[in-house]
Amino acid sequence: MRAYRISVLGIVLFAAVYPAISGGVLVRDWHGGVGEIYPFAPWALFCFVPNYESDFAVRIRAIDGRQLDQPPYFEQLPGFDEHQKTIGRGVIEGMGSLAGDQASPAFAEQRRLFERNYLAPLGDDVRYELVRREYDVLERWKTGAFQTNEPVAALVYRADAEGP
């Protein structure tokens, strides 16, 4: 009977502690801005409906010295599956949010992660831009148009460099 009561209390504790940990304000800055302490997910999925959105994107300008006529965005690159693109987009957003201080270790960490996982397969010398875009979701879906499209940083990945 004692074990049963402890089990009941354990469930009550779980229901009280889980939201406190996953939704805690402290979590936000923990672990380099990932925003949660695994495995305590906040489950804030699709809470805000995208209206007039802004995001960060990566646009590839040149690969191994060859300028690209129509520079593709990261999500338009072939060779990456849905899972890789989703993770890659998360890393780009992380880079964008830290781009105000490009000398910071946090920015360098995100940049290193992105370049080694996504740019290294493209070539040894990749020139790219970090771009901030603004758009209305349904309008972009119908016409492909962005309201604004501003470069935030021009960056270079070199395979032989020690680090970014």
Binding site: Y4, R5, S7, Y38, V49, P50, P121, W141
Partner: protein, 341 residues
């Protein structure tokens, strides 16, 4: 304390309409046998998933660098390929052990450790996804199941009850996660409404989510175009999804709703997959296993009873039917009068 928890359960469970079945000890024995089988199926499926991951580990080799979550602190700077094979192989061994002896607490804890490490690994690339979380938490709760032979537990009413409680905790945890997601969507409604934006209750809400997802990933989900063009369908579907998510935790306390809620959430994930290319396959399996096949549910869906227990409708029933008894179900004479092993 016990009285408080009992009253809480009574309130969440739909009050006087959610009575224990007649022959409650027989029902407990039947539910225990059923739950025992489901636990064995879970560990067999865990082995399937672990073996599959190990065999299909090659896609992880495209990553040259990782950003390890805290359980994998030791892997910082290691080759991704090496970490992948180490974590997946250990998980497969532990999963095999738990599939062979699911009655061993040690084997179940090792299976949890394996699932925990795999979840940490797949989320160690700069963004945390959520397809693995429910699996990790269910394996965590199952680790607390009483150890020992099935025959010994079957002979003890207290052991059976504890087994069922832990099993129910796993169901509760899953439904709790959906409720968190549902209520966070509702919390955002007044914020967006105040800004003059389309909010989760708006008719364009789902269409905008689908369009945004497809634009961000340049994916082409099979139902995306159609759902965006047919707001008359996507709007009620999204409202239904929010209802299903927000009140999921109440369904945990209402066994008559287990099957309906499980099926509803499976279909929700299927719809999300077809419209947005977001595939939550492990949770779909868990919903089908733990809720659609819930051991606390009778053989047949009692539709009339289930409908009246839908969150919101039970309040209508309270208003329509005069109160016969206001005592918590577990304190009613049926419980005390019955004798069992």
């Amino acid at each position: 304390m016990t009285g408080l928890l009992r009253t809480l359960r009574w309130l969440l469970g739909g009050c006087r309409f959610n009575r224990p079945p007649a022959g409650v000890f027989h029902a407990q024995s039947r539910a225990f046998t059923h739950a025992l089988l489901l636990v064995r199926v879970f560990y067999a499926a865990n082995l399937l998933a672990a073996g599959w991951r190990l065999a299909e580990r090659e896609p992880w080799n495209v990553y040259e660098s990782m950003y390890p979550l805290w359980p994998l602190f030791w892997a910082d700077g290691m080759k991704v390929e090496t970490v992948a094979i180490g974590v997946f192989a250990a998980n497969a061994v532990f999963a095999a052990l738990a599939a062979i002896v699911p009655t061993s607490a040690l084997a179940r804890w090792l299976a949890f450790a394996g699932a925990f490490a795999v979840g940490a690994f797949v989320n160690s690339f700069g963004r945390v996804g959520h397809a693995e979380h429910a699996w990790v938490w269910v394996s965590f709760f199952f680790a607390f199941l009483p150890a020992g032979s099935a025959e010994r537990m079957a002979a003890s009413r207290a052991a059976r009850q504890r087994f069922l409680l832990v099993f129910w905790a796993a169901q509760f945890a899953m439904l709790f996660f959906y409720s968190m997601s549902g209520w966070l969507k509702l919390v955002a409604v007044p914020i967006q409404w105040h800004r003059g934006e389309v909010c989760s209750l708006g008719c364009e809400a789902l269409a905008r989510h689908i369009a945004n997802r497809a634009l961000l990933t340049k994916s082409h989900p099979p139902l995306a175009d159609w759902m965006i063009d047919h707001l008359w369908l996507s709007w009620p579907l999204f409202l239904g999804a929010i209802y299903l998510e927000a009140f999921a935790v109440l369904a945990a306390f209402r066994p008559a709703l287990h099957r309906i809620w499980g099926a509803g959430l499976v279909l929700l994930h299927l719809g999300i997959g077809l419209a947005m290319e977001i595939w939550f396959v492990p949770p779909m399996f868990l919903l089908a296993l733990l809720l659609v096949n819930s051991p606390f549910h009778g053989e047949q869906v009692a539709w009339r009873e289930a409908i009246w227990q839908l969150p919101g409708l039970e309040l209508v029933r309270h208003a329509l039917e005069p109160a016969r008894t206001l005592a918590p179900a577990s304190l009613t004479p049926e419980y005390g009068a019955q004798r069992g092993p």
